[in-house]
């Protein structure tokens, strides 16, 4: 037994080293972007030439860039609102609606995971042309709602499922209507998850390129602006400075969202009085994409 335990401990140490290497592989290429954004050379190559803020200075006063940034922010905010609203209602009805229609909607809402972005893009391109408004910021908003939908549904579903069933039943038993129960009990209890879902949906939209590529009219988003600049070797350092700013913002937003989500789920796992049934342990703190 003790020999086996020592074995396991040594195995754990090797695995730990492997995890470290894996994390380096995960982060190193991305961290090269900030590194070379401060490098005083147009080439992203070693040896480093010297420290400069030059590329960050070129970012300010660029009207095409600030226009793209404004587009991305507006599209991100509207798409995240839409995706979060859908995520809340779809997962709530899936869990408590007791109807095959609600379950079907929830299953279809997670379908975009199984559709490559290029197909989401062209299907919406055909749709918006059929409706009449064509490629535009509205079209990108619709596309980004679809792309973010699986995330918001999964986050909200795991949050709602983690709220002890008895709380909702108590509200209903005490005479609260469905609407009151939803608005006064379930929504406040899941507020951290709602904020987290909104932020992650916003990030998904803010960083999304594949779908937006098909749906953009004359007003590009930030990733589309970056794509248009990649053709010109001269503008690579500027792209790296811009990329660094985007990465920094993404890391901060994602970090806050993850902390909120875990805090919300941890709160739900706090022990409840003995006469209340325990929250069902079916859902976990982690995202589960598999929908079977």
């Amino acid at each position: 037994m003790s020999a086996a335990r020592i074995d396991a401990k040594q195995g754990g140490r090797w695995l730990g080293a492997y995890v470290l290497v894996y994390l380096v592989f995960l982060y190193l290429p991305v961290l090269l972007i900030p590194l070379f954004s401060f490098n005083d050379s147009i080439q992203a190559a070693f040896p480093l030439q010297g420290f400069t803020f030059e590329w960050y200075k070129t970012l300010s006063g660029n009207s095409a860039l600030s226009g793209a940034l404004a587009n991305s922010l507006v599209i991100g905010a509207i798409a995240a609102t839409g995706a979060t609203l859908c995520g809340i209602t779809v997962s709530y009805m899936d869990l408590f609606g007791r109807s095959p229609l609600a379950a079907t909607i929830s299953a279809i809402a997670r379908l975009p995971i199984l559709i490559p972005g290029v197909i989401v893009g062209i299907s919406l391109l055909i749709l918006v042309n059929l409706i009449g408004f064509g490629p535009s910021r509205t079209a990108i908003v619709l596309g980004h709602i679809l792309v973010a939908l699986p995330t918001t549904v999964v986050i909200m579903k795991s949050r709602f499922a983690a709220i002890p069933k008895t709380i909702r039943e108590a509200a209903l038993d005490l005479g609260a209507s469905d609407w009151t129960t939803f608005r006064r009990v379930m929504l406040p209890l899941s507020l951290p998850a709602i904020v987290s879902a909104f932020m992650l949906a916003f990030l998904t939209s803010f960083d999304e390129f594949i779908v937006a590529f098909f749906l953009a009219g004359t007003e590009p988003t930030l990733p589309l602006y970056i794509w248009s600049q990649l053709r010109f070797p001269k503008s690579l350092p500027t792209v790296m400075a811009l990329g660094t700013a985007i990465l920094a913002v993404s890391f901060v937003i994602a970090a806050i969202a993850e902390i909120l989500r875990h805090r919300g789920l941890a709160a739900a796992r706090r022990p409840v009085p003995a006469n209340l049934s325990k929250p069902e342990e079916t859902e976990r703190g982690e995202l589960q994409w598999h929908s079977t």
Binding site: I33, F46, G117, I126, L172, D207, F213, G243, L247
Partner: protein, 295 residues
């Protein structure tokens, strides 16, 4: 004070129709209109001839016949499958030990590590691919680092614009997708199973092979699916780091809706991709059932 309600109806029967309608409306609109109807349009368009108008003209199978008979599309489809398959294999195999460590060894570090492996998930995909472009370029990071350290004397073209570059870049871009499903599957294995295996005399490797691995297969399959689907239709990575020798099916679809301007044919290619994905999903489902899905 307040009236006591004598009859206590079941909560469900009190569900007001208005509430249900309002709650089903946003999701219903999005799923039926934006997903199902829009996908239906793709299938419809795939069966039309191209006359330059939005919805084409006349019904025809010509698009599908071209897709099925032209060797070019077979080559590109098989290449896409090979690249996506390799990427899936690479991500799942490299992610498994990380998930295993998280589930069984991480202890107090688990929260931090989970956080670190999920963070890249939310950063820009375009920037992650772009990072590889500057790594692999002729006068890029890797070449200059190799020369600087004296390993090579002159830069090589061998990195960029190869299918291998596409595989590495995609494997890196989708790596965070694979860890979580495997971790969840490993973490939900009842600890009593492992104790039973060791009590009954199984050595660590045997209990891994006979208990842990089969029980984690649903997570492995889920991970394989979430990596395979976006990679098989990718067109950005081949365009940025792949070069002409690694054109994928997504690139062809994009071209039909762009330069080539043959939407019905592009739609037919999209339907073909969806059929391939459907086949993969069905295979995964049946494998999943064999291992007894717990997720």
């Amino acid at each position: 004070m307040s009236t006591i309600v004598a009859r206590q109806p079941l909560p469900e029967s009190r569900s007001s129709t208005g509430f249900r309608l309002a709650m089903l409306l946003p999701g219903g609109l999005v799923t039926f209109f934006l997903i199902l109807f829009a996908l239906g349009l793709v299938v419809f368009l795939a069966l039309r001839g191209n006359d330059g108008s939005l919805l084409g003209a006349g019904f025809t199978f010509a698009n599908f016949i071209t897709v099925a008979s032209d060797p070019l599309y077979w080559t590109v489809t098989l290449r896409s499958l090979a690249i996506a398959g390799l990427v899936t294999l690479a991500t799942v195999v490299t992610a498994y030990p990380v998930a295993y460590y998280l589930a069984f060894h991480a202890r107090r570090r688990r929260g931090l590590l989970l956080f670190l492996v999920t963070l890249p998930f939310w950063t820009s995909y375009l920037l992650r691919v772009f990072a590889w472009k500057i790594v692999l370029a002729y006068n890029g990071v890797l070449n200059s680092a190799l020369i600087e350290s004296g390993i090579w004397s002159e830069p090589t073209l061998a990195f960029l614009n190869t299918p291998a570059a596409v595989v590495v870049t995609l494997a890196h871009a989708y790596a965070p997708f694979a860890i979580l499903p495997i971790y969840v599957a490993l973490d939900t294995i009842p600890k009593s199973l492992l104790e039973a295996a060791s009590d009954l005399g199984a050595r660590p490797f045997t209990s891994f092979r006979r208990v842990v691995l089969p029980n984690s297969m649903p997570g492995v399959l889920a991970a394989a699916l979430v990596v395979f689907v976006p990679t098989v239709g990718d067109y950005v990575t081949p365009a940025l780091v792949g070069g002409p020798a690694s054109t994928m099916i997504g690139s062809l679809i994009q071209a039909q809706f762009g330069k080539a301007n043959d939407w019905p044919f592009g739609a037919a290619l999209a339907v073909a991709v969806m059929l391939v994905i459907l086949a993969v999903v069905l295979v995964v489902r049946s494998a999943d059932r064999r291992f007894g899905s717990r997720i």
